[in-house]
C-alpha cells in the first residue's frame, strides 16, 4: 500500500494513522467514519485513549471492536457496543442532539476550505466517476463539535475546487459557517501521510502546520492541487512510538486474519 520510509521502520500510512490517532483525546466522543478514520480511532482507543467513546452510524454506541470493521455495521461493532440504537435515534439524539465531540471523516476530494466531495467527479448529470455519496458526512460535519479529516495526500484528492460540495468545510469562500446558528466548529485538522494541516483562524484556508519525518515542503506542494500555504513555524510531526506501531500492526494482522476467514 505505502512505501517504507528509508531510514525509519514504519510506512507513511502508519505515520498517518498514528498521527490521526493522537488527535483523539481520552474521553472524547467520536463519530467514526469507516476506513482510515476507523483505523485511527481504534488505535487511539488501544493506546493513549482507552476511554475514547467510539460511535458508528449503524447505531453502535461506545463500541470496542477487537478487529477493524469492513462495513459501518459489522457484527463486531454491535457485539462489543455498550448498546445499539436505531439509525434514526443515532442521527437524531446522538449526532444532532449534540453529544458528539468530534466527527472523524475520510473523503475522496477536499479543497483549501476543507469542503469534502464524496459524490462524484465531473458534472452531476454526466459524472466521470460516480462515488458513493454523502452517507453520514453532511450532518456529521455540521453537528459534531469539531471535525478531523484523514486521507492520503495526492493531487487527485487535494483539488483546487471540489467538483461537488457534499459536505461543508468552510464553504467555497471560507465563510460557509459564519452566522449559522447551532453549528460545530467544522474541520480543525487534516491528517495525511505527508503532513498535518489546520485551517487559518481568519481565512479558514488550510495551512500545513507539521511535516511528517522525511517529508519536504516540495513533497506536499507536489501532492496538492492548489498553492498550499505553510505555517511560519513549521513543526515536525513526532514519530510513531514502538508501542503505537506494535499495537497498530497487531490490530491490522488480527483484522486480516478475521476477514480472510469469512
Amino acid at each position: 500500500m505505502s512505501t517504507v520510509d528509508k531510514d525509519l521502520d514504519y510506512t507513511s500510512s502508519e505515520m498517518m494513522t498514528v498521527t490521526a490517532a493522537r488527535a483523539l483525546q481520552n474521553g472524547m466522543t467520536c463519530f467514526v467514519g469507516i476506513g482510515l478514520p476507523s483505523e485511527a480511532a481504534n488505535l487511539a482507543r488501544l493506546t493513549h485513549a482507552p476511554d475514547v467513546v467510539l460511535i458508528y452510524e449503524s447505531g453502535t454506541l461506545q463500541t470496542k471492536p477487537d478487529v477493524l470493521p469492513l462495513s459501518i455495521g459489522d457484527g463486531e461493532l454491535a457485539e462489543t457496543a455498550l448498546t445499539t440504537v436505531s439509525v434514526p435515534e443515532m442521527f437524531r439524539y446522538w449526532l444532532q442532539g449534540g453529544k458528539i465531540d468530534v466527527g472523524f471523516l475520510g473523503t475522496a476530494q477536499i479543497d483549501r476550505y476543507c469542503n469534502l466531495n464524496t459524490t462524484l467527479i465531473g458534472d452531476y448529470r454526466e459524472p466521470k466517476v460516480r462515488l458513493p455519496g454523502g452517507g453520514g458526512a453532511p450532518e456529521i460535519a455540521t453537528n459534531a463539535g469539531e471535525v478531523f479529516i484523514t486521507l492520503k495526500h495526492s493531487k487527485r484528492a487535494f483539488v483546487d475546487r471540489v467538483d461537488f460540495v457534499t459536505t461543508l468545510g468552510f464553504g467555497r469562500d471560507g465563510k460557509g459557517r459564519d452566522g449559522v446558528p447551532n453549528i460545530g466548529k467544522g474541520p480543525t485538522r487534516v491528517i495525511t501521510d505527508l503532513c498535518v494541516m489546520k485551517p487559518d483562524p481568519e481565512t479558514k484556508e488550510l495551512v500545513v502546520v507539521s511535516l511528517h519525518p522525511g517529508v519536504s515542503r516540495e513533497d506536499v506542494i507536489e501532492a496538492t492541487g492548489w498553492e498550499i500555504r505553510f505555517a511560519e513555524t513549521l513543526e515536525s510531526t513526532p514519530e510513531p512510538s514502538a508501542r503505537e506501531l506494535e499495537v497498530l500492526r497487531e490490530l491490522k494482522d488480527r483484522t486480516a486474519r478475521a476477514h480472510a476467514g469469512a
Binding site: S71, T84, R130, P132
Partner: protein
C-alpha cells in the same frame, strides 16, 4: 394481521410493478432472499428506497427491476463501487435509472417521520451541502419559535417495505436484534410490509432472551411473514451467521462486467428455488 406466506406468494401479492419499495437493513439483516424473489418474478419500474443500496439493489438494478433509486450512500461497503448502479445511472444499462440522493441523517429522519405518520421530517441538516441543488425534495423551513432555518424532506411512505429479522412467533410478532437500522420504521411507514425471518418460534415472550423493551414489531402491524433461512446472506444475522465478506469482494468482479453479471443472476437467482 400478519399472514404466513411463502416468500414467492408474499412478493407476488404485495410487490406490484411500478410500486415504491423500501428494502431495509443497515449492513445487517439485508433482505437478499426477498430481493432475489423480486428478480425472479421480473418486477419492473420499481422505485427502490434504501439508505445503503448495497449488493441487493445492485442485483435488482442490474436485473432491470428499478426505475428510480432513492438512497444516501451507494457503495459496496468495504470494497468499492456498486457497478450495476453506476452502469444504469451512467450508461443506461439495462435501462436508464433515475437517482434521488439524500444524506443518511435526512433519510433516517424521513423513515422516522413516515413511521410517525407525518408528511415531512425536519432536521438540522444539509447546511452548506450542494445536495439540495440536485434534489428538489429538500426544502427549508423557518422555525416559528426561533427563526432558525431548518431542512425539511418528505416522509418516506413506501407502498411496501421488506425487511429480514431473526424470529417471528406464531402470532406473527417479529423480533429484530443487534443493529436494528431503520427496519421498524420502514415497516411502520409502509402501506404493506413483508418480513422474512430465520425461524418461527412459539411465543417471543417465552423465549429465554426475551426482554421487556426488545425491538418487537407486533404481528398486526405486518402484512406478511415468510420464512427465509439464511435470508440475509451474504450480509449477516446477529446470533445466526456472520457476514460473508469474501462474497462482497467477489461481487466487485462479478458486477463489473455485464455478461458476468447476467450469467451470475441466471445461475444463482433465476435457476435457484424460492430460497436463493
Amino acid at each position: 394481521m400478519a399472514e404466513f406466506l411463502s416468500l414467492r406468494d408474499a412478493v407476488a401479492r404485495y410487490v406490484e410493478d411500478g410500486a415504491t419499495v423500501a428494502m431495509e437493513g443497515f449492513t445487517h439483516l439485508i433482505p437478499f432472499a426477498a430481493g432475489h424473489e423480486v428478480i425472479r418474478q421480473k418486477k419492473r419500474d420499481l422505485t427502490l428506497i434504501r439508505m445503503t443500496p448495497d449488493l441487493v439493489y445492485d442485483q435488482m438494478i442490474g436485473a432491470g427491476c428499478a426505475r428510480k433509486v432513492i438512497f444516501s450512500w451507494g457503495g459496496n461497503p468495504g470494497v468499492g463501487s456498486l457497478h450495476r448502479l453506476r452502469d444504469a445511472v451512467e450508461k443506461g444499462w439495462p435501462h436508464k435509472v433515475e437517482i434521488l440522493e439524500h444524506s443518511h441523517a435526512a433519510m433516517a429522519c424521513a423513515f422516522e417521520a413516515g413511521a410517525a405518520g407525518l408528511p415531512l421530517a425536519v432536521l438540522r441538516g444539509y447546511v452548506g451541502s450542494e445536495l439540495p441543488s440536485v434534489n428538489d425534495q429538500i426544502k427549508f423551513i423557518e422555525c416559528p419559535f426561533t427563526g432558525e432555518r431548518l431542512a425539511a424532506v418528505p416522509a418516506v411512505r413506501p407502498d411496501v417495505s421488506i425487511v429480514h429479522a431473526q424470529k417471528a412467533d406464531r402470532a406473527g410478532n417479529v423480533l429484530v436484534e443487534g443493529i436494528v437500522g431503520v427496519q421498524k420504521e420502514a415497516v411502520l411507514a409502509a402501506k404493506q410490509s413483508i418480513v422474512t425471518v430465520e425461524e418461527i418460534v412459539d411465543d417471543l415472550r417465552a423465549e429465554v432472551d426475551y426482554h421487556p423493551n426488545a425491538c418487537i414489531i407486533p404481528g398486526w402491524a405486518i402484512s406478511a411473514i415468510a420464512v427465509a433461512e439464511k435470508g440475509s446472506l451474504p450480509s449477516y444475522a446477529h446470533s445466526y451467521y456472520p457476514r460473508n465478506n469474501a462474497f462482497y469482494k467477489e461481487w466487485d468482479g462479478i458486477a463489473r462486467d455485464r455478461d458476468t453479471f447476467t450469467r451470475w443472476i441466471e445461475e444463482n437467482v433465476m435457476k435457484a428455488g424460492g430460497n436463493a
